[in-house]
Structure formats: structure tokens, C-alpha cells
């Protein structure tokens, strides 16, 4: 009897540990399924319009072009080219994402034809005055977070799996975020709720108007980010995606920033 009584806390601990490790595994399994579903897209270009709305409802817009190249060994490569506002037209940002450590990033300033390597670790700052931080727009490599399963949840008529993502980088602007994955649609993301460093609800990102490309890849038509603390909003509307755009590594050479269009 005594031995059994003594054993109970140990058994509880073991069961608890099994439950926790099972929960972790489930979160990781979902994210791995997502990563698997988004492998093999190879390359694409996009055009988009970013609309910034301030707390008074005033709007301003930026037109962007994007080029993306999948990398299997390391993180993906991307280029963002500004078409408006007119005074920054031609400005371009080249990013080499890395699975571990800071990304490599270069900025092209068309007024003086200068390519500048810039520090990429300031990821919590806003991207061109928007509600998107740099880290929200960079390639979401699986190694950049740790994962915990939270719950199943109905969202917009879809049964989703909610996973907590905890950024590995201490410079992230977030303590954690909750991500709604939709297993019935190849694990596409429906919603992300961000919590700031203090753990307060910070921003919500909705993925809308998904399109299906190359028969298996879901890409959103609209990204809508609402900042709950400032009441500002930024939407990115993708007006075009072109997959199999023929992009190669040399299209992401620093020299090609100067003639990006």
C-alpha cells in the first residue's frame, strides 16, 4: 500500500510527461504537415497592393512586386520591389532566409544606385510603416519557432487545429502566437493571433480569398492585419501570382537588384 501511495506522484509525473510530449508532438506534426504541403512550389512572382489604414480611417497605398525562390537546403530567397509611393519607386529588398541564425538582407537605393547590406535582426520593426513586421513577411522556416498543440477550433466553418508558435529568436517582437491550420485544405493557415512580449493580445492576421496553384498550393488573395492596440490596419491584396516564372539563383544576385522591375 505504502509503496503504491509513494508511486502515485511518480506515475502522475510520467503520465503528465507523456501527455506533454504527446501534445508537443501533435503541434510539431501539424507544422511538419504544413511544411510538407508547401514544399515543391519552386518559384513564383506576385504583384500586390498594400493598403495602410490609420486609426482615423485615412488610407495610403504601396504597390509591390515580389519574386520568390524555394531553397531546399536552406531558407528561401525573396525580392520585394516597390512600385509606389513614387518617391521610392525602384527601391528593392533582397532577402536570403536562413533556417538558423539571422537572414541576409540587401537594400537597393535607386536615387544613388547603391546596394547596401543591412542588418536583418531588427525584425520586430514595422515594414514601411505598416502593421506587418519584417518577421511577419519573411519566409516562415520551421526552425524559427518551437511548437505546442493548443486545441481544435471551428473557424469560418472549417475545423482547424490551433498551434502555439514560440519564436526562437529573442529579438522577435512576439512572446508567442496562435496559428489556425486547416487540415482539410492542405494545412493552409486561416488566422494568426500575435501576443506581444508582455503576453497581451497584439495583432490578428486573417488569410482570405485563397487560390489554388499548381493543383496543390493554396496562396492567399488577401492578408489582413489588424493591430488591436493601435486600431490600425494593413491589408495586402495579391493581384497576381505567376508560378513557374523561370526564376533561378542568379535572379536573386545582388547585381540584379539594380534592374529589378
Amino acid at each position: 500500500m505504502n509503496t503504491i501511495m509513494k508511486a502515485i506522484p511518480t506515475i502522475c509525473l510520467i503520465i503528465g510527461a507523456i501527455t506533454i510530449s504527446f501534445a508537443q508532438n501533435k503541434g510539431e506534426q501539424i507544422v511538419e504537415a504544413y511544411d510538407e504541403a508547401y514544399t515543391g512550389w519552386e518559384n513564383y512572382t506576385s504583384t500586390s497592393v498594400m493598403t495602410l489604414t490609420n486609426q482615423h480611417g485615412q488610407e495610403s497605398q504601396r504597390k509591390l512586386k515580389g519574386k520568390n525562390l524555394e531553397q531546399l537546403e536552406d531558407g528561401d530567397k525573396s525580392m520585394i520591389i516597390f512600385q509606389t509611393p513614387n518617391d521610392v519607386k525602384g527601391t528593392a529588398v533582397l532577402t536570403f532566409t536562413h533556417k538558423e541564425g539571422p537572414d541576409d538582407q540587401w537594400l537597393y537605393l535607386p536615387s544613388i544606385k547603391r546596394v547596401k547590406r543591412i542588418a536583418s535582426n531588427n525584425k520586430s520593426g514595422p515594414f514601411v510603416g505598416s502593421e506587418f513586421a519584417y518577421e511577419d513577411l519573411s519566409s516562415q522556416e520551421i526552425e524559427k519557432y518551437t511548437y505546442d498543440y493548443v486545441k481544435s477550433d471551428e473557424f469560418n466553418g472549417n475545423s482547424c487545429e490551433v498551434v502555439l508558435r514560440d519564436p526562437v529568436d529573442p529579438k522577435s517582437g512576439y512572446k508567442y502566437m496562435h496559428v489556425w491550420y486547416n487540415p482539410s485544405k492542405n494545412y493552409r493557415i486561416e488566422k494568426i493571433v500575435f501576443y506581444d512580449r508582455k503576453g497581451s493580445k497584439f495583432k490578428t492576421l486573417l488569410y482570405k480569398k485563397y487560390g489554388l496553384f499548381k493543383e496543390k498550393y493554396y496562396y492567399p488573395g488577401i492578408l489582413e492585419m489588424t493591430n488591436h492596440q493601435s486600431s490600425k490596419k494593413t491589408t495586402i491584396e495579391f493581384t497576381n501570382y505567376t508560378f513557374d516564372a523561370g526564376l533561378t539563383d542568379t535572379d536573386f544576385n545582388q547585381a540584379r537588384l539594380k534592374n529589378a522591375r
Binding site: S60, A119, S120, N121, S124, V128, G129, Q254, R261
Partner: protein, 402 residues
Amino acid sequence: MSYRKYPIFFITVLLHTIALGQEDTEEQNVFYDFSAELSTDHTYYIEEGLYTNQQRYFASIAFEPEFSMDWNDGNERLVGNLFGRLNTHDENRTHWDIRELYYQLLQNNWELSIGLKEIYWGTTESIHLVNVINQTDFVESFDGEKKLGQPMVHFTYLANFGNFDLFAMPYHRQRTFPDEEGRFRFPLVIEDNDIIYESGAEEYRLDWAVRWSHSFGVFDVGVSHFWGNNREPLFTIDNVGKLRQFYEVMHQTGIDGQATINSWLLKLEATRRETTSDTFIAFDAGFEYTFGNVNGKGLDIGVLTEYLYDDRGNRTTTGFQNDLFFGSRIALNDNEDTSILLGGIVDLENSGKLYSIEAERRFFNNWKANLEVRALSDFDQTELFYAFRQDTFIKLTLGYFF
């Protein structure tokens, strides 16, 4: 105008190349793009000029249209960027230029451009030692960042072990300088005519440059060599007392590098220049550290320090032989892209100090305001900037972009 001697053959070659390129493009899409900036600037000097006829207030308007067209799936392009300014008083600042006008062929691992181009090399912020391809449009920019279009044939090869650039430049542009009414001049006005060249071919000497640049890990490096007419003139007083520009032939080897380690940018530019009159080394080494998003709303505060050295000592033509630059870059990362760059260069041997403020902000989507202040203080007679010691100015620019 400075274009009267412009080599017309170069433009002819350019147009001919374009005509050839267009023959087989009938069925393909051609994309056109046009944009322009119309701006006005107002410059006020807080002290009277040291020399006869120098003015205190200048106003001007400038127009800078840009166009590009591309075809053949974006692999062939024609790019143009023109510039013109009308200025009160200083007639030399009333000028126009073809900043860029070139045809470009882009292939998977090489590029070829023919025409007038602007090329930027380097990493540092306070001075730009290795950046020698283009002539400086000195009447446009105190910091030398505005350049005149350089005619060239430019070939780039993209390899796994870096990018290789080769430049052949058939024509030399002379630097622009203020006239009698302008500021930042010497007691004698620099003559625009009767330029003296060391080379017998004068401005038609064929100049060459090569560069290798590469990024690996945290490093970005470039090594370059330039052989041709110096972009920086020497000055001689001729027998009738005129201050004339003299351009020597130079060999300049340059190294530029940056290490990007978390919030640190470690920067270096170093050059060795050899001319008939002088051989010297110069370098600019320093760092930039950014405190990112300090207020949680996107405010970035960068601090910069660079040490400037030139072994010509007081014979330096840049004015910086043993100087320390310190500065701060403040970016709000707001809807208006508001940014401020504060800086100062202190001479460690002499007493001279140069301070600057550059601020900019967009408004109403298509407008932009710039403020520039350059203050000179305590320069003594041995220093180059002594001649400009009363040229502290405030300049406001308003631009409309369409």
C-alpha cells in the same frame, strides 16, 4: 553647355544597337514605364560670401524624368534618366545632364550595358573613396553623391565565386563647379574652358576599370582597379592668372568591405592612388550600430563612427586627412518614411569641424520635403575648407513625384 563636345558616335552606336535589338521582337510584349520628379530648392547662406559677387540666397527648379522599356521577356532593356535645373544667380548650377541612357542585355549569368550609366561602389557613409567611375556633379551635391552620366560599355559576369565587372569608358566628363556668384568656391573662379589633360588623347582617352565583388556569410567585399583620367582635378594658375582644371591619368586600387553581425555593420574603404604628381593611400573605417524599434512603434536609432585617413596630410584634396566622423541615423519607419541623419566630422590635427543635418519626409503621397544643413566652423588657414569657412547653409527642397 558642357555637352558641345559630346561624342556623337556613342549615341549613334546606341541607337543602332536598339534598332538591331527590336527586329525580332514584333510578337513579344514590350513594357514601358515613365516617372518624373519636379522639385524646387531654396538655399540660404547665413553669412555674406568671402569673395566678390557671391550671393546669399539661391532658388531653383529642377526636372528629372525617367523612362524604361523592356522586351524579350525582360532580357533587353532601354533605360533613360535626364536631369535639368534652372538656378538663380550661379549660372553654372543652371545645367542639364543625361544621368543615364543605356541599352542592357541580361542573360542568365552575364549582363552587357552600352550607354551612359551611373555606378556606385562602396560601403562607408561619410566619404566615398572607392567610388570613382562617375564624375561628381559638385554644383548639385555638397557630399558628392550626385553624379554625371558616364559613357561606357559595361560587362558583368555572375559567378559562384563573385561578380566580375569590366568597364570601358571612352569619354571623360569634367567636374561641375560654381561660378563667380556661387558659394563653395576659391578666391579665383575655376575656369570651365581650356581644361588641361595629362593624356594626349585628353577627354577621349579610353579609360578602364575592373571590379570583383562577393558576398559570403556575414561579409560583403569588393576589390576594384581603375586606370584612366582622374575624376578629381588638380588646379593650376596659368600665365594670365586663370585657375584651370588639370586632370592626370591615375591608377587607383580600391578595397571595400562590410561585415554585418547582428546590429553591427563594420565598414571599410581603402584606396591606393598613383598619379604622376603623387602616390598615396587613404581609408575610411568605422561602424554603424542600430538600436532597432526602441519605442515598439518602429523608431530605429543608429550610431555611426568612421575614421578618415589620407597620407597626403594637409595636401589632401578631400579635406579629410586625419578626421573622425560621428553621426546618428534616426528612422521613424512611419507611413511618411521620416528619417534624419545627423553628422559631424572633426579634424583630429587641426581645428576644423563640419556638421550636417539631412532630414526627409513624404507627405500627401506624392510630395517629399528635404532639409539639409551644412555648418563649417573653426577651419584654420592650413585646411582646404578654410576657403569655404563662411559657407554654412540651410537648404529646403520640395519635390513632386509622378
